[in-house]
């Protein structure tokens, strides 16, 4: 089997990519997708560690994190939709009136 370190490195890579996505994508949905990517990286790390410790709690934790993600998606998409209804845009750069 592959050592844990590999998995962690992989997850770290995924996390970094997700971050790049957050920064470079310009529509709310895409940014949100990238966040999902980061969450998955976290999950992957957790599961890998779970194996390393031979401990099921981490896997359970992952299960819960997935639920969190789902809930977040629900709220997030709701917000996005609500905004879209009023402005017909998902470009986050259009929402920059609050500043300074």
């Amino acid at each position: 089997m592959a050592p844990t370190a590999y998995y962690i490195a992989l997850s770290g890579l995924l996390f970094a990519i997700g971050m790049i996505g957050v920064l470079t994508r310009r529509t709310a949905i895409m940014i949100f997708l990238s966040v999902e990517l980061m969450l998955n990286a976290a999950n992957l790390a957790l599961v890998a560690f779970a194996r390393a410790w031979g401990d099921l709690t981490a896997q359970t934790a992952v299960f819960i994190v997935m639920t969190l993600a789902a809930a977040e998606v629900a709220i997030g998409l709701a917000i996005i939709v609500a905004i879209f209804r009023k402005r017909e845009t998902t470009n986050v750069d259009d929402l920059a009136t609050l500043k300074g």
């Binding site: 844990t4 962690i8 997850s11 996390f15 997700g18 971050m19 957050v22 709310a28 940014i31 949100f32 966040v35 980061m38 969450l39 990286a41 976290a42 999950n43 790390a45 957790l46 890998a48 560690f49 390393a52 410790w53 401990d55 709690t57 981490a58 934790a61 819960i64 994190v65 969190l68 809930a71 977040e72 709220i75 997030g76 917000i79 996005i80 609500a82 905004i83 009023k86 402005r87 986050v92 929402l95 920059a96 009136t97 609050l98 500043k99 300074g100």
Partner: protein, 482 residues
């Protein structure tokens, strides 16, 4: 065979009561007017407070330590309840003007409170995480609830950045787990002691990620940038809630994690001190140049985050006590200030600082109250803000962070300047017509303001009333639980 752990009702009673309030608002919202629900919720908050009081010194725990109702939890929980109650009171008067006077508002608020209590009572990282998420999600909704462009923009910003923040937090949890193989504070604290250097590296990495994640929740620079926008975009009563309750809860979580679980883990303190320094500079310097009072308060909230976080650098005994004292005082004065803004603002954008000119001659009561709050925020005796500052300085000094304390001192000079300008403007007579909402003074708000002002003054003259409770170092020695 499956053995369900012991489930004591007592430790979770406070949370359950609040939850009941949330559910009630959700369900009864179809039958009862919103104001009735608010009253019910206020009562429930009070009840929850009482039940919390019964937990004092009981050291009760449930779910195998996943939920611990130790004194720390009680003290922080009471602070949270106070802030929530003040929010509800203010919302009684201002929710309609802000167009958020419907049951869902209360429901979301109560859910958020549930989450915050969960954080304060949490015994392991997962509970903490869930608490944080409940709190955050409901806060996203609260910030967006108002049907206005600023609110929506605020909500979206809050949500996107918040999601990223939680992702970082979760990754941190993963690393910490990887290093210690445990998710509850006690286990982490125990294993953090004897670790091979490699996994210590991972542990510190996780700790730093947790720091970043929490840094977002409490608005430490450079994770603070959502704060001004969200506070100024959201309805003022919501800003009140976010700047008091949510921040208190986030700090409660930080106290649990860094004061408890990771207390003797190395590495995070030096980073935290850098973050604090940046926060102090950014927060104070930026608020010097605000022209909108509401937004200035938002920035000052950032600045205060810096002061509060100073307490984390002290020894848990002193630091925890300082933090607990400061949090209560901070809640009182910030809530009162926001309450006055909410009451007197013409538009949801809050009032410009220049609008405050001559307020003393139109609304003497509120003007004096606001002046007191600002003086307390600036840390002038005899108001409690002074002792808050004093305590965190003391904690930081005894932690050996002299340069940071000096920086904090200088920063609060700048703070004085920007608090002083509005405070003094209120007392300068002017000829121009009033630019604030004429019918703002109403019983509930007045009560809230009075509560804040009296509290700040009394705690300033007799700090022991509160500090006597929180001073005992034993409370903060066992943040991780036994």
């Amino acid at each position: 065979m499956l053995t369900v752990p012991e489930v004591h009702l007592a430790p979770m009673l406070p949370i359950l009561i609040v939850l009941a309030g949330a559910l009630a608002s959700t369900v009864l919202g179809f039958f009862l007017p919103r104001r009735a629900l608010t009253v019910i919720n206020l009562v429930l908050l009070a009840l929850s407070g009482v039940s919390m009081g019964t937990l004092w010194n009981s050291g009760a725990a449930a779910f195998g330590g996943a939920l611990q109702a130790d004194n720390a939890a009680v003290l922080l929980g009471l602070t949270i309840l106070l802030g929530s109650a003040m929010t509800l009171l203010v919302s009684l008067d201002t929710a309609f003007r802000a167009r958020v006077s419907f049951p869902e508002f209360d429901a979301m608020l109560m859910y958020a409170v549930t989450g915050t209590l969960l954080i304060a009572f949490s015994g392991d990282l997962i509970t903490l995480l869930i608490g944080l998420e409940i709190m955050s999600l409901s806060s996203y909704v609260l910030a967006t609830l108002q049907d206005s462009r600023p609110a929506e923009e605020a909500g979206l910003k809050y949500f996107l950045l918040g999601a990223v923040g939680s992702a970082i937090l979760i990754y941190g949890i993963a690393l910490v787990y990887g290093a210690t193989g445990s998710l509850n504070y006690v286990g982490i604290a125990e294993r953090a002691a004897g670790l091979s250097p490699q996994n210590l590296t991972i542990l510190v990495g996780g700790a730093l990620l947790l720091l970043a994640g929490f840094g977002f929740k409490v608005a430490l620079a450079p994770f603070h940038q959502w704060t001004p926008d969200v506070y100024s975009g959201a309805p003022t009563s919501v800003s009140l809630f976010l700047s008091t309750v949510v921040k208190v809860a986030a700090f409660a979580g930080m106290l649990r994690v860094f004061g408890g679980a990771l207390q003797n883990a190395p590495g995070w303190a030096p980073v935290l001190q850098i973050l604090i320094a940046v926060t102090l500079i950014v927060g104070n310097a930026a608020s010097l140049f605000q022209t909108n009072f509401k937004r200035m308060l938002a920035y000052s909230a950032v600045a205060h985050t810096g002061f509060l976080a100073l307490a984390l650098l002290g020894t848990p005994g002193l630091g925890g006590a300082a933090m607990a004292y400061y949090l209560l005082v901070y809640t009182l004065m910030t809530a009162a200030a926001f309450a006055i803004v909410a009451a007197l603002q013409r538009s949801e954008k809050g009032m410009e600082i220049s609008d405050l000119r001559g307020l003393y001659f139109r609304h003497p009561g509120y003007a004096v109250a606001l002046a007191v709050c600002l003086a307390s925020l600036a840390g002038l005796p005899p108001f409690a803000g002074f002792f808050g500052k004093y305590l965190v300085f003391q904690a930081a000094l005894q932690g050996g962070y002299v340069w940071l304390s000096v920086l904090a001192a200088l920063a609060s000079v700048a703070a004085l300047v920007y608090y002083l300008r509005p405070a003094m403007l209120m007392f300068m007579p002017d000829r121009t017509p009033a630019r604030e909402y004429a019918y703002g003074e109403r019983p509930a708000t007045t009560f809230t303001v009075a509560l804040g002002v009296i509290g700040v003054t009394v705690l300033g003259i007799l700090p022991n009333l509160w500090y006597g409770w929180v001073a005992n170092p034993a409370i903060w020695g066992t943040l991780a639980g036994r």
